[in-house]
Subunit: 350 residues, 2 copies
């Protein structure tokens, strides 16, 4: 059996800590020979040392791997040492765009026994288990904007949301397929009553592609109304499809209501397979708790199930999912350390 | 005593129903002679009858009033009878922009006894009482965008967020003043790690204006992180300032966690007084429950406290707030009709 080449970017803050546990789980489930891990030293420290964020030579190398495992990148908000967003845009978003990660997949599931901030009457007896399919290569994330008269009382700054039929169609189609393979419900989130140009495009494609999926029930919600729906009845959702920024916002809320960002996994998928897909926890680098060994690696480990699925090993993916589920249920609201959680899950997988 | 001229736009769906109760409260607290109500027949029905949304002659007339009371406008999402967003943009947003409603003020308060979707451990023993100051005349709400090759597989649709130092400064300053008059905490919500042009402008103004308010503690949160904060610890907020679209999204979540959109009041304030300000519940026209007499008029009634405050009658505003608070606490989770709630609050005010 040939082993898969996995590029590993631990990144900043708690990134390397949770990534180590993710790799531990991968090795435990698939054996030491299944993967060839190549570690890349990228992130805040490298930038501070060398002024490099993601050199072209590294980008070229990454292009050839089978998948990328990412921890987290980014300095603390308000940090003076690193310009705001430099690493997010130069590394994380750069990879999503360079490798055409059209489908940003973010499952949310409330496991039994996991403390949720929602009241018992909202979740008791209900199944909260949905997937957000977030567009990953367009919208307000294109870096298409500018500013004039910067620093003066006459400054004007713009940000442009770019949406193409091509980009919307592929992510909407992906979402319909997932809905079809799940419980058959797909919800489009947008704000078409205000963002009329982008909204009309999303609506049109949603309706057109929907005709190919007569067995999938279609629903539309304004993004603001979705905020309410996610806290008063999250069990109503099966698959959600939305644009890049709305997807960013809604998946943090989704993570929060299903027990926290420490459990939320994600995949950045290149649909054609031309480029490597990338797997990462939804959470950020959390510099406030870095180095203490207390970050929850569950999201990073769960992301490995998405990676295995993507690499065509659904049985191994399921074993990770099952081990994670069992461990989450076993630990209840007990606070465990990063390595401890990683070891417990690896033990279940061995 | 001269009476104030109030333009009343009941609008669509439950709009007229809740507005009637709001006017009842106004009359009860201030006497029948304090206000001269002029009703304007605008909204879906008028458009369907005449093809007019907001004729220039009406806009001119409205310019001269002391304040505007708005119910709600907008057809059901997905309605085929009325083009998406036609009324929202042609009436509601038109008024906000024409009358330069820079400060969209949205208080959120969790009243004792009100059912919240949050778990007891999140809210018990805590005070959840904050105000969102949402910018109302810029951002993605300018209608600045377009589309080419519409309806084809090559369609490109854009939306432009427009941010000026002038527009940001006035709303940020307003927010600092409010924070100073409250508990002294102001949080800026944005996404400056991705929306770098707009984000830098908001950051700069936030910091600059903040120097005039050394007694106000400043904090920054990414909009996605704010989603989590609002459900895991909403008591941390005092005043929030943010842009038009983030404000739209965050205030629906804020309303949801503090007992629902039926209680959320809002003011669209023209800071110079050159144009009339406008007072409305945060909720929409809710066509699904229109005509049944079951819509909660509390938000519309609370908006009248904001109106009275704005018209320089803080004692009357406080009486409305007190009556609303008392009634909310008295009713607990009992379901009451629209008129019944209006009558109960009016009785407390008489
Ligand atoms: C770090 C940031 C650029 C990123 C995003 O906005 O996409 C993060 O919030 C996420 O959700 O993956
Ligand atoms: C109806 C709609 C245009 C409006 C908005 O987006 O501002 C509403 O959601 C609100 O929050 O007042």
């Amino acid at each position: 059996m040939t082993s898969s080449n996995i590029a590993v970017i631990g990144g900043d803050g708690i990134g390397p800590e949770v990534t180590a546990e993710a790799l531990k789980a991968l090795t435990a489930v698939a054996g030491a020979d299944a993967f060839n891990f190549v570690h890349y030293d990228l992130g805040a420290e490298r930038w501070q040392r060398t002024g490099e964020v993601l050199p072209d030579s590294v980008l070229d190398e990454l292009k050839g791997v089978d998948a990328i495992v990412l921890g987290a990148v980014g300095a603390a908000p308000g940090s003076k040492a690193i310009p705001s967003g430099l690493l997010e845009r130069g590394l994380l978003l750069k990879l999503r765009f360079a490798f055409d990660h059209a489908v940003n997949l973010r499952p949310s599931k409330l496991y039994p026994g996991v403390p949720t901030p929602l009241a018992p009457r909202i979740v008791d007896g209900k199944t909260v288990d949905f997937v957000v399919v977030r567009e990953g290569t367009e919208g307000l994330y294109c870096g298409n904007g500018g500013a004039v008269r910067v620093g003066t009382p006459h400054e004007l700054a713009t940000e442009v949301s770019v949406n193409t039929a091509y980009g919307v169609e592929r992510v909407v189609r992906d979402a319909y397929r997932r809905a079809q393979a799940r419980r058959g419900h797909l919800t489009l989130l947008h704000k078409h009553n205000v963002l009329v140009n982008a909204g009309s495009l999303w609506n049109r494609i949603f309706t057109e592609v929907g005709q190919e999926f007569p067995d999938v029930e279609q629903k539309y919600l304004h993004i603001d109304a979705a905020m309410i729906a996610l806290v008063v009845d999250p069990s109503q959702f099966d698959v959600i499809v939305t644009d890049n920024l709305f997807g960013d916002i809604v998946t943090d809320l989704a993570a929060a209501v299903t027990g926290g960002i420490g459990l939320a996994a994600s995949a950045n998928i290149n649909p054609t397979g031309e480029y490597p897909s990338m797997f990462e926890p939804v959470h950020g680098s959390a510099p406030d708790i870095a180095g203490q060994g207390i970050a929850d690696p569950t999201a990073a480990i769960s992301s490995m199930a998405l990676l295995l699925d993507h690499l065509g090993k659904p049985e191994l993916a399921k074993r990770i999912d099952d081990a994670v589920t069992a461990d989450i249920e076993a630990r209840g609201s007990e606070k465990l350390g990063t390595v401890e959680i990683g070891d417990r899950i690896a033990a279940r997988l061995a």
